[in-house]
Symmetry: C2
């Protein structure tokens, strides 16, 4: 999920100055409006060491009305605190209604660190996360707005930041030996952080993953996300009754670089290379599919992607390699009457494969956070809590030992146009292009934002997304087959 | 919590016949109304072996429209089921909107049995319960109504039932060796059952504890609870959006025997015995309070009870025994402005004692489910989810090693009247009696029902309620002191 925060996003000095001018006025306005409400605001600041979290908090204190903010740092426990149950120190620090409490370190810190240092087992960590989920739900039920930020640095960036801080006499003292020790545990920290986010990324208290390398970008994003969350919550008002749903969309979609922009669409294969690799990986997959059958390892694969991205033809290249007795394709279109009469996940549970078999979903449960979100078929509270529901679903599959493959086939907007036009002119492809395709294309930016959120919130260690470079169909097919083989090899 | 289901409640043949006549008509009516809604109803049947669960289900199938009910028994896993993730079999069985699904055995069965047989650790069990809580929440968010029944038998009753079943040639085959093995594990089963209920007793999917010894009582109660839940949910209608809140109040309060009726109010102490025992236990408590200080074991005690039950004078007898440096009394009246600006639990967290100290709450967090419930200061969704919140709070105290004492001082309605009148005539007691006391007295039955629910839902192994026989103040004080000493002795 952290790939989404390694996109090299920057804000220029000029853009920053202009944006901050506007943002400060709007933040102050929202903050004043908050005072007369019954809403306590809890802002959580977490993430990598040396990601500039302290500086962000300084900045917010500058931007907001200081009389309405309290900042709490949770550093070592005091003797007072150690003598009470763990959450005592958080309860005492909770903001009162109409105020903003900024939590630098929070209920997340101790379990995350304990897990990174292997002082607690994964089950205990999960329990701590469940306690957090219960606690946050309770606060939200009581009318609170919870806005959670996770500041991310790549390992290289973290090293660079630490070195910079050490080189500057003013900040040298800030870098403690423990920071370098944590740097060495970077990957473990990342894995635990991901698990923490995944287990607590609820619709009513969502995480915002912030790319932290650029100071101006991280400050501006933080301010904008906070503003959007405040505004949305204030818009509802009505008091403590209705659940808070923080905004997930800080900036207009098209202005944002997303994880999809990182897919290198120039990657191609020659016809010759394609033929060779296709043969190689299809052969391999044939053997692996039988091996999986013998070992009773099931496979669940799903395909998502833009219209005309080539999902169908890619799926055919996969199924050519698997014995028809071993797989089943489930095309996901509009739900049937019966499916509509159940929870939206019911139709996907139905088709789970028996031991050793494969189910391929052509489009999938991610419709909830893609088409249903963009077209408004699901309300915001429904699609925003779906990330947690989908991760939970996939975790159950993974715990059962199922190999889970998730492909998003990416193509450029231009390539889509080319294919649409081709479909219109080639007689046997005409049936494939409808008015709806053109309508969807008109919402490209909204879909792009939804895909970015989807990948960010649901790319997990046990069920990562594979972003497929789809402009060249040959390259895409081989990438899919190769990924499939690798996953099965790892599991068998 | 199970004491509340050992009250010997029975329904006579005549009452049963009359009540069933009415109930059937009303149930059918509600069931027909359900058909046109988007509400799937999930009814869970759990509890003791031989508690007549199967017979209850037969009866419901008789009473409801058979075309709108599906009954699912979860017995052994089929091969089909074993090949999928655990929840697959439950997903396939979920009722569609407008239908009732009766689950005989459910997602609770396997974790409970595994824990009883010590096949999983307490942490794993807690995780399983958290998964259930998440799952049920997801269904409710989707518009489902979940009604959960736990049928309880005392150990003696269970033995009797098993023997009866074995004696009858028709039912002999129904008693399996495993049932007798479970009978031997009765107490373990009870403890695990209690933990399961406590961790999943959410406002949106509450448990109903049914006293199962009398066939007519258990059948009638089940039908009435189901009817009340259906009616309440149908009253809301509006579709899938609003959370389902099942009724917690099957029968009119005054018609019900509650756990309070089991307190033997005739218990008395002579002045002589009182003097002796008071001295004995006060002396003991003095020593224990210092020992607790030395060992850093904190104590949290709370007092609830009817107006004029003698809370204040009982607290004085306790504090006489404890060094003033070691304790603090926190009287809970209407919240201050500052307290009102926070979550209702905040004011109680604030006052938690330091290591080795004692905090005595004169009235407590249980106001949420007593006065706030009865007077309507808290909405039903608020007070009904509070049981889970309060249990979670107390679990945190208990996990921190705090000794937790909860006293409900019970007096009869007549005794209260006597004391009210006395207060009115004795000059130095007049300040103690207000119009509000008389108003509260007018709501005796509503309070009684609320107290019964409170004790049922929050009497846990780590924080049991002590029901104090308060008609004789001397007896009450000694009972409290003795309980206090025993708890500290057990912990030190």
């Amino acid at each position: 999920m952290f790939e989404a925060a390694e996109l090299g996003r920057k804000v220029s000095k000029e853009d920053y100055a202009a944006a901050v001018l506007k943002l400060r006025a709007e933040l102050l306005q929202a903050h004043f409006a908050l005072k007369d409400t019954k809403i306590p605001v809890v802002m959580i600041v977490s993430g990598a060491e040396a990601a500039g979290k302290g500086a962000v908090i300084h900045r917010l204190n500058e931007w907001l009305d200081p009389r309405g903010v309290d900042t709490h740092s949770f550093w070592r426990s005091s003797e007072e605190e150690a003598e009470r149950p763990d959450y005592w120190r958080f309860w005492r620090a909770l903001p009162r209604r109409g105020r903003i409490g900024i939590f630098f370190g929070s209920w997340y810190s101790q379990p995350i660190l304990a897990r990174v240092h292997r002082k607690i087992k994964s089950g205990q960590f999960d329990q701590a996360m469940d306690r957090i989920a219960f606690f946050e739900r309770m606060l939200v039920d009581d009318g609170a707005l919870i806005v959670k930020f996770w500041y991310h640095l790549s390992r290289k960036q973290q090293r660079k930041r630490l070195e910079e801080l050490e080189a500057d006499p003013n900040t040298r003292g800030q870098v403690l030996p423990v920071d370098w020790r944590h740097y060495k545990l970077y990957h473990r920290f990342l894995a635990v952080g991901e698990a923490a986010i995944r287990r607590t990324d609820a619709g009513h208290a969502p995480w915002h993953l912030v790319e932290a390398a650029d100071r101006r970008y991280r400050e501006l994003t933080t301010g904008q996300v906070l503003l959007a969350a405040l505004r949305e919550r204030l818009g509802q008002t009505g008091g403590a009754a209705s659940p808070a749903r923080a905004a997930r969309k800080p900036a207009p979609a098209k202005a944002r670089v997303t994880i999809l922009d990182r897919v290198d669409l120039k990657q191609r294969l020659t016809a010759q290379d394609y033929a060779k690799q296709l043969e190689r990986f299809q052969g391999k997959l044939t053997r692996l599919a039988w091996a999986a059958y013998a070992k009773k390892v099931s496979t669940v694969a799903l395909f998502e992607g833009w219209d005309a991205a080539g999902k169908g033809s890619a799926i055919r290249r996969v199924t050519q390699a698997i014995d028809p007795r071993l797989y089943r394709i489930v095309p996901i279109a509009a739900p049937t009457d019966e499916e509509r009469a159940h929870h939206y996940l019911w139709r996907f549970w139905r088709h789970l494969p028996r031991a050793g078999m494969t189910t391929i979903y052509d489009r999938s449960w991610y419709g909830r956070v893609l088409v249903e979100r963009v077209e408004g078929f699901a309300r915001e509270d429904e699609w925003s809590r779906a990330y947690l529901e989908l991760n939970d679903f996939e975790e159950q599959l993974s715990q059962h030992g199922i190999a889970l493959l998730k492909f998003w086939i990416q193509i450029s907007k231009e390539e889509q146009l080319r294919r649409f036009k081709e479909r219109q002119t080639v007689p046997f492809k005409q049936y494939k292009i409808t008015d709806e395709d053109w309508r969807n294309r008109g919402k490209w930016d909204a879909y792009k934002a939804a895909v970015n959120d989807m990948v960010t919130h649901t790319s997990t260690t046990f069920a990562p997304w594979t972003l497929v470079a789809g402009n060249d169909k040959k390259f895409a097919r081989v990438q899919i087959l190769r990924t499939w083989c690798e996953r099965l090899e790892a599991l068998l």
